[in-house]
Structure formats: C-alpha cells, structure tokens
C-alpha cells in the first residue's frame, strides 16, 4: 500500500510539473465546450436575406417586416430584377433571396396564384433547408392572419420539440464533447505515460524490482482518472451555467456511467501502450485511431440512423457511441436507471474485456 501511494504521488508529480501539458489537459475541455457552444453551431443565425418584390403591397410589406424582426434573419437590401438574384448569391452577400410575384396581395385575396419563390444558397444544404423552413413558418403565419376567408383555413401543425424545445444544438454536443474529451484524455495520456517510462528506460528499473505490474498500471491510471473527473465537472458546470443546458436526470447516475466510461478509456490506453513502442506512436494511435471514429461514428456529428448499415455496425463497437447515448438520455431526457441499462451493460462488458486483454498483454519483460 505504501508502494502504491508513493507511486501515485510520483505520477501526480509528473503531471503537475509538466505545466504545459496540464494546461492543455484542463483547458481543452473548456475551449472545446465554448467553441462548440458559440462558434460551431448548427442553428440558423444572422442569415442575410435579399428581397425581390414585384408587388410592393401591404402583405409583402408585412412579411418583410416580420422577417426583419426575427432574430434569425437580416434583410440587407432589395433587388429589382431576376438577373441580379444570382449575382448577390454568388458574391456571398446574401444566403437567401425571397421573390414575390406581381400583385401578390390581390391574388392572395382572390385565391389566385400568389406565389413566392425562396432561393437559397444550396452549397450548405443543411443550413439552406433550415433557413427555408424558418421562412416558411413566418410566411404561413402572416398569410393565415391576413386571410379572412373561412373556407381556406389551412391546417398548421403545432410542432412541439420534446426535451429541447428551442432546438439548441448544445443539447446534442455537450454529451458528445464529454465522450470525446474523456476518451482522449484517458486513453491518450495513459498510453503516453506508460510508453514514456519505457522510452526513457525507467521501465527497465521498475521491472527489475519486486513491483507487481498491476500496481504500476493502476497507479498510472489513477491520476488521469482524477483529472478526467475534474474535466467532467468543468464541462458540466460550463454547460449548465454558460450554455444553459440543464441536467435533467440523476447526477449520481450521470457520474456512475461516466466513471465506467473513464475506466474503459483508461484500459484502452493501457492496451495501446502494450502495442506501440514510442510516445509518438502512442499519440498517433490514440489521437487518430480514437478521435476520428469518436467524432465521425459516435453520433456526435452525424446521426447514426442515417448512416449506411455497415457503418452502423462499426459504430456499435465504438464505446463513445454508447456513452454518448446514455448521457443524452440521462442529461437531456432525464431518464431513470432502467432506461440506460442496455448502454451500461454494453460499456461494462467492453471495459472488462479490455482490462483482461491489456493485463494479459502487459509485458513483464522487454521483448
């Protein structure tokens, strides 16, 4: 026990004295959360709109006012003929052009063909379809208010977004960033810490000593486990107080699932350390080998349901996918334990098998 404590203390010394790395480790989650929260967002904001109004009547004026009043759109000007539409979109001044047909108001009242054309910049398809949706909503509301004709009541669906009424993207990425950060810190740092001992030669001395390998391994893991929990806390604080993402579920459950995932990531790092020889290789293996699948296949960026079948199967073996799913359920939907049993079970099985494999592979000799 005394050996163990002194080993853990030594590991903490390594981390604390390497100020730059520690700054990165503790600062990275904060930067990432803030980046995802404010810069990288899938919400529609500040869309520049140009209007082509052949009609210039009451209703088109009202529609324009509504659009200009919304938070999402800025009307930056008007064009007066069809040809100019292409040039404003090409120049990048506008993201969206709204064109009203001639005699819009009177045609509308007569029930004739009052038509509106929405021309969006399709180079960013997701963005464009969101913009069109928002505008359509505004148009519908104006038109239905203006219409006194009872025969023409159109059915406007009342859409309610459960759990995330404002459709904030933070609800999606906070669990995602948690999965990514924990995976990265635990796996990468543990593998580097173990490989470093081998690279600088201290592993030789440790092996030629009565130390049991399990003590070396566990004491390497504990500091990064503590660091990960600190990161977890800072991510949660930021998301609650800065990004306004509430924690709907049981915080104890949230931490328990996270702890399982941390242990899983630590043993993955241990496994990597048994496979590579240099710190550089460890960094590449855990950086490229873990980051990319976590970002692309875990559902953090792209929904798993819309992936090709083969990628869906691959994503099933990525631990972060199950963790992110569980965290979304607990944090956003606020579910109870029984709804995340499947995820916890899968994560636990993965953890146990990873620990067994890497313990078996941990070399007590050099070759």
């Amino acid at each position: 026990m005394k050996i163990f404590i002194s080993f853990v203390r030594k590991e903490f010394h390594h981390i604390i004295r390497d100020k730059r790395t520690m700054l990165i480790l503790l600062g990275m989650p904060i930067v990432q959360i803030l980046l995802f929260g404010f810069a990288i967002t899938t919400e529609v904001n500040n869309v520049n709109v140009v209007v082509l109004d052949h009609s210039k009547d009451d209703i088109t004026r009202k529609i324009k006012e509504r659009i200009a009043a919304s938070d999402y759109f800025n009307i930056i000007g008007e064009v007066d003929n069809q040809e100019n539409i292409n040039s404003v979109l090409l120049k990048g001044d506008a993201n969206l052009v709204i064109a009203f047909s001639n005699d819009f108001a009177s045609n509308l009242k007569k029930g004739g063909d009052a038509s509106i054309q929405l021309i969006a910049d399709g180079t960013e398809p997701n963005q464009a379809s969101m913009e069109v949706n928002y505008i359509s909503g505004i148009l519908n509301s104006v038109v239905s208010e203006g219409s006194n004709n009872i025969d023409k009541i159109t059915i406007i669906p009342q859409v309610k977004m459960l759990y995330n009424p404002q459709l904030k993207s933070a609800y999606n990425f906070v669990p995602g960033v948690m999965g990514m950060i924990l995976m990265l810190i635990c796996a990468m740092m543990t593998s580097i810490a173990i490989v470093r001992e081998r690279e600088i030669g201290t592993m030789e001395i440790l092996l030629v000593s009565p130390l049991k390998p399990i003590i070396i391994i566990i004491s390497k893991m504990i500091p990064y486990c503590v660091l990960s929990i600190l990161n977890l806390i800072s991510i949660l604080l930021l998301s609650v107080y800065v990004l306004d993402v509430p924690i709907a579920g049981n915080i104890f459950l949230l931490f328990s699932v996270s702890l399982i995932f941390i242990i899983l990531a630590l043993s993955l790092g241990l496994l990597i350390s048994t496979l590579v020889d240099t710190q550089m290789a460890a960094m590449l293996a855990s950086g490229m080998g873990l980051m990319m699948p976590v970002i692309i296949l875990s559902g953090l960026m792209f929904p798993i349901e819309s992936m090709p079948k083969i990628l869906q199967y691959i994503s099933a073996i990525i631990p972060a996918r199950w963790y992110i799913e569980a965290i979304k359920k607990i944090m956003i939907q606020g579910v109870e334990f029984q709804y995340v049993i499947k995820e916890i079970f899968i994560l636990s099985i993965m953890t146990i098998s990873l620990i067994l494999v890497s313990l078996k592979k941990f070399k007590t000799k050099l070759n």
Binding site: I3, K10, H13, G201, E204, I205, V208, S209
Partner: protein
C-alpha cells in the same frame, strides 16, 4: 560460491546471434568486468542476467535462482543500473531516492550506511531535478538508487560512459568500497583503461567471450613485444606503420604509436630506415611493457 552461473546462453535478434553460446561464472564478492566494443552484446547479456529478456536457449542462475523460472525472486535481490540515465528527470534527487527505496520495500534510512559515501556527494543538490544534474552526479544518483535496497549483486551497464575522467575515477573507488562490503559487481565498459580495476575481465566481441582472465594474467600471457614509436609527423606515422609489413598492428596511444606483432620479431633498424624514407624526423623507438589495453587490442584484432 558462485553468484552467477551461465551455461550456453544464446540470444538472437533477427537471426543475428547477439549472445552466442556463452558460459561463464562469477564468484561472490568480485568485480567482474565485461569489456567490449559497442554492439558486442554487453547490454543484451545484462538484460538476460537481470531477467528483462529471456534467453533463446541455455540456462543461467543468478544468486541460485533460474533467470526464466524464478525471475521474480531474482528481481528482489539484484540492483540494476541501465546504460542510459534511467531515473525520473522531473523528480528531484531526494524524490527519486525515496521513490526507489519505497519500490524496493525499504527506506533511505534503513540502508543509509551503504550509500552514505556516495550520497554525501549529491546531498547538496537533493532538491534539484535529476535532469539538471551533471553527468557524473547523475551516475552517482543512479548508483544510489540501484543500491538503496542492499542488493546481493549489482549490474552496472556502462556506468561511466559519457562521464568525465575525475568522476570516473571516483566512481571506481566507490565500486571498490562496495566490493569490500561483499556485494558482487558485474560491470560493463567500453573503456579499456578501467579494466585493470576489475578482479576478472571478460573480453567480449560479437556475442562471445574471447577470453576471461585476471588483468595480471592478460598481461603476463601476452606474447610478443610492443614497440613505442614517436616522430615529428604523428599524423602520417600511424598510416605508414600500418603499411610497413602485414601481420603488424599499430594503434595510436596519445603522442606515440604502439606497434606489435604476434608472430615475428620486428627489426628495429629496418623500421627506422623505412620511416626515414617516408620523411619522418626525430624518430624514437623503445620497447615497452604491454599495458592491458595493448593486450585487448591485439586480441580483438586477431
């Protein structure tokens, strides 16, 4: 009593025999030097003896324990100092010592008498990170760390490489003191001048021991003469001596060259004529008693 008994040890990497059919034994309480050029297999041999790698074939006992079967027992009783500096550079001297003491289930105080002589020299720097010590200090600290659990055998792999001559001399004094306490020391070095400090020397090349003997016997058994040759133009002298006759070996030793032949006598008058023809001036030739270095070089060149 024998502390190390090796029997036909062999280890290959990529079909190259790095340790080739080695058999030898080391007595308790002796300083056993393994001398050989870089790449002769010294480090691999040390790693087999310290149970870090397993031999392909052959057997070896260290303190009565088998290196493959009882490797855990061996790890309790040996001290090992690897070739390159292998301590934690970001921990201080004191922290390194305390850490290794704890790892070996002991404390600094328990075996303080053993390391006191060495420790007092590094004590003024005990709060300095180990990475910021000078080369000689690093080696002293590494030796302290390897000794902190009072091992029965100490394995030192090139402990003086990259260390200044004064520190090297001090280091060997320390080893002699440890020997007095009864610790067996197996030490490797590429420096031939250190060989005479050992009780027994194994001359290693290409994974084999060319010869194992005491330093004195190495010199006594040397057949042939050694000539020391001096001239004004030392730069060309070595080249000219080497082309003088075949089967002659010549090495530069400071400001003179040592010339030897194992097989035939060298005619000094003839040699002087030859050197004068090659435009050498102030030629001084004298016969000298071979040093241990001369013996090794002639062995290694056979």
């Amino acid at each position: 009593m024998n502390n190390v008994i090796a029997n036909r040890l062999t280890k290959s990497f990529n079909n190259v025999k790095v340790v080739d059919d080695l058999s030898f034994s080391v007595d308790e309480g002796e300083i056993y030097g393994i001398i050989g050029p870089d790449g002769s297999g010294k480090t691999t041999l040390f790693r087999i003896l310290t149970t870090l790698i397993s031999p392909d074939s052959g057997s070896c006992k260290v303190c009565g324990f088998d290196v493959t079967k009882d490797y855990k027992a061996i790890r309790n009783v040996v001290g090992y100092m690897p070739g390159r500096f292998s301590l934690y550079q970001d921990l201080t001297v004191q922290e390194n010592l305390d850490f290794f003491a704890t790892v070996f289930n002991t404390t600094l105080g328990e075996n303080y008498s053993l390391i006191r002589d060495i420790y007092v020299q590094i004590e003024p720097f005990k709060d300095r990170p180990a990475g910021k010590l000078s080369g000689g200090m690093k080696q002293k600290l590494a030796l302290c760390c390897a000794l902190v659990h009072r091992p029965q055998i100490l394995f030192l792999d090139e402990p003086t490489t990259g260390v200044d001559p004064v520190s090297r001399k001090e280091f060997w004094e320390m080893l002699k003191n440890l020997k007095k306490i009864g610790i067996t020391i197996i030490v490797s070095t590429p420096y031939m001048d250190e060989a005479s400090q050992c009780d027994k020397i194994a001359l290693m090349q290409n994974g084999k021991f060319l010869r194992v003997d005491t330093p004195q016997n190495f010199i006594n058994n040397y057949s042939g003469k050694i000539l020391s040759v001096k001239s004004d133009n030392i730069y060309n002298l070595l080249e000219d001596l080497r082309t003088y006759k075949s089967l002659i070996t010549a090495f530069s030793f400071g400001e003179c060259c040592h010339l030897s032949s194992m097989y035939n006598e060298i005619d000094i008058d003839n040699l002087i004529d030859y050197l004068i023809k090659r435009k050498h001036k102030n030629i001084v030739i004298s016969e000298i008693i071979p040093s241990i270095e001369d013996c090794f070089l002639s062995y290694l060149n056979r």
